[in-house]
């Protein structure tokens, strides 16, 4: 077993899940490689220290208090049903798309109206300018 393989098996060793066949090779490598030994000892020491963390026991009368809570009315906070949430999202998307399309259409109509109005007011416009302007509008460009 090399250093990389040994370090990959630290977790299995800690959780006592290292196959019996692999254990001698693991132990041998750790005993012979100072770097891996140091890493392994640090890894194992932290895990050992974690186990020492103490936590409080339930206070006196815990079971009694729990039984009393069985009589409390059930309070379930209202939430949107999952299906409704998707439906609401779909409605929002459709409204946004329709709104965007209507704004775009409105702008197009306004620009078209402006072109015709300019043509009517300005004699210097020739047919070519009108065609180019309309062509730009068709391509979605601005005048």
């Amino acid at each position: 077993m090399n250093c990389r393989e040994t370090r990959q098996r630290f977790d299995e060793r800690l959780d006592q899940r290292l196959p019996v066949t692999a254990q001698p090779a693991f132990d041998q490598h750790v005993a012979s490689c100072a770097d891996c030994r140091q890493q392994w000892e640090a890894y194992a020491a932290v895990w050992k220290a974690v186990a020492r963390q103490v936590a409080p026991a339930p206070s006196f009368g815990f079971a009694e208090r729990t039984l009393r809570r069985l009589n409390e009315p059930i309070h379930i906070p209202w939430r949107w049903p999952r299906r409704w949430r998707w439906a609401a999202l779909a409605v929002v998307v459709v409204v946004l798309l329709a709104g965007g399309w209507m704004v775009r259409q409105h702008r197009y109509d306004a620009q078209l109206a402006r072109v015709y109005s300019d043509v009517r007011q300005n004699d210097s416009f020739d047919d070519y300018d009108v065609i180019v302007s309309l062509d730009q509008l068709e391509k979605g460009g601005r005048l």
Binding site: D15, Y43, V50, Q53, F62, T66, L67
Partner: protein, 198 residues
Amino acid sequence: MTANDADAALMLRVKEGDRDAFRELVERHQRSVVQTIYRAVGDAWEAEDLAQRVFVQVYRSARRYRPTAKFTTWLFTIVHNTVLNEHRRRRRHAAESLEALQRPATGNEGGGWQPADPHTADPAQAAAHRELQDQIGEAIQALPVQQRMAVILCRFEGHSYEEIAASLHCTVPAVKSLLHRARVTLKERLQPFLSGGV
């Protein structure tokens, strides 16, 4: 009769609405549930409140219980869901958890309640022990909630990878990955405090 058989038998009685069986079930598991939640949320008062909610949930879901899986796996699935909900609630109401942090220690809360190691008569050593306890608690608290639960169930409850996977709704390789990442983070965080020897 194994412990699991006894739990399953009690649950079948709870299904029928037997409150004595429920009380027995609570008494059997109250310690592990309260301590698991305490380690996950870091507040003793809140841990008791959440543990009671877990047991109330067990009572109300008893009709859906099928004794096919181990009772503790089912119980810790509820514990995990409760901790996750609490985690989400805390994120939504950051101010509330700040308030909890500022709550004066009542002698039964994180930091204040921890007994000194009975083997260390020396006050300096006791203080160092308490300091280490605080650091370990903080390091566990700093882990992402899934990693934290995996560490707690593996290290303190001695659950197998398969049981942890069932409780956390994930696969066994995912549990291994959660534990590995948690250990690397804990090592980085705690090694400076352990260099003097544990």
